[in-house]
């Protein structure tokens, strides 16, 4: 081993030493996600109750031009229609920041190979994707691609403004 290599090995040995991260970080993380979890738990119950209505709306919406609705809905939320043309797919779910990326919460309805779902979104920026046949992640070909792709799957971005889009 050369002197240079020995020097680098000493550097590596030094850098591998523990740096002493504050153990209270664990509690801070859990506090932050617990604060998230409560409102999300409440939101989870809501789509189930209104699901029959959403299903009907999604099927009707599938024949309409694939663009978000501009109309504002109750409680500052805007109904957004998401559409994917995938005639070969057996199932498609809409997953995103708004439903914890849970494929069971927004299965899309199909008509003539066009899959659609409508979700209520308060103002904000959301990343989302389509999960095809339960395994294949696809971004929305009609929407901007999300730049924060560190999660390893493609996704798109939708921004809901206060006055609708």
């Amino acid at each position: 081993m050369s002197d240079g290599d020995e020097l680098v090995e000493r550097v590596i040995e030094q850098l591998r030493r523990p740096v002493g991260i504050d153990p209270a970080l664990d509690a801070r993380v859990l506090r932050e996600i617990a604060a998230d979890a409560r409102p999300e738990a409440a939101l989870r119950a809501k789509p189930r109750m209104i699901w029959p209505w959403l299903a009907v709306a999604a099927v009707l919406a599938a024949v309409i031009v694939a663009r978000p609705w501009a109309r504002r809905d109750v409680a500052g939320e805007t109904p957004f229609q998401f559409v994917l043309v995938a005639p070969q797919a057996a199932s498609v779910s809409l997953v995103g920041d708004f439903n914890d990326w849970d494929p069971n919460r927004a299965p899309m309805q199909v008509a003539h190979g066009v899959w659609a779902a409508v979700v209520q979104l308060p103002p904000g920026r959301y990343r989302y994707a389509f999960l095809v046949n339960g395994v294949e992640w696809r971004s929305d070909p009609t929407a901007p691609h999300a730049s924060d792709d560190e999660f390893g799957t493609p996704s798109s971005v939708v921004t809901v403004t206060g006055g609708g889009t």
Partner: protein, 186 residues
């Protein structure tokens, strides 16, 4: 060693978290805190920024857990989130003076004899040399030699190709040798 399957299944813990058990996420945080924290501290060079990046990465990972397509490799997926977060923080922090970890140690500890003083001086030299590497070279060097990732895992985590990563590691080693050799002759 790598970041593949861990002894008591990450997949099992991820499954429990998805079923609503937040305490299972606490176990994942405890499992990865020190290792990822070490990477963040060396990559960013400022302990406070590093802990903030680490905390934010854990929270982002929790919120996007549905996108972890292979829960058995939760660790690799989490690394990807942290690497990305460190890049953002690093770019912002580059405009400020880096506060070195070793300098922190100097502040906290009274060197106990010449050996201890020598260790702290060496730690300080290493951090300063590391800080002078370009972020891509520092990132590749830390992931390969300190975090012990395979090149394929590094490619997955960083989004760079294997050959580019090998070149970055090689250049980082050369630069460190040069910087430290110069520093020791000053």
């Amino acid at each position: 060693m790598g970041i593949g399957k861990v002894e008591s299944s990450d997949a099992e813990l991820v499954g429990r978290v998805r079923a609503g058990d937040i305490s299972a996420y606490g176990a994942l945080v405890a499992r990865y805190r020190d290792r990822l924290g070490r990477y963040a501290v060396h990559m960013i060079g400022d302990r406070e920024d590093a802990e903030e990046a680490l905390q934010d990465s854990f929270v982002r990972a929790y919120r996007s857990l549905g996108r972890c397509t292979d829960p058995a490799r939760f660790g690799a997926w989490l690394y990807g989130i942290l690497v990305n977060r460190c890049r953002t923080t690093g770019a912002r922090a580059a405009r400020r003076r880096r506060v070195f970890v070793a300098a922190d140690e100097f502040d906290r500890a009274t060197p106990n004899g010449p050996d201890e003083l020598e260790r702290l001086e060496w730690a300080d030299l290493v951090e300063r040399a590391l800080a002078r590497l370009g972020p891509e070279h520092r990132e590749a060097f830390l992931l390969k030699h300190v975090e012990d990732l395979e090149y394929e895992e590094m490619a997955e985590v960083t989004g760079a190709g294997v050959s580019a990563l090998k070149m970055r590691v090689k250049r980082a080693r050369e630069q460190l040798q040069k910087l430290l050799t110069e520093a020791r002759h000053v």
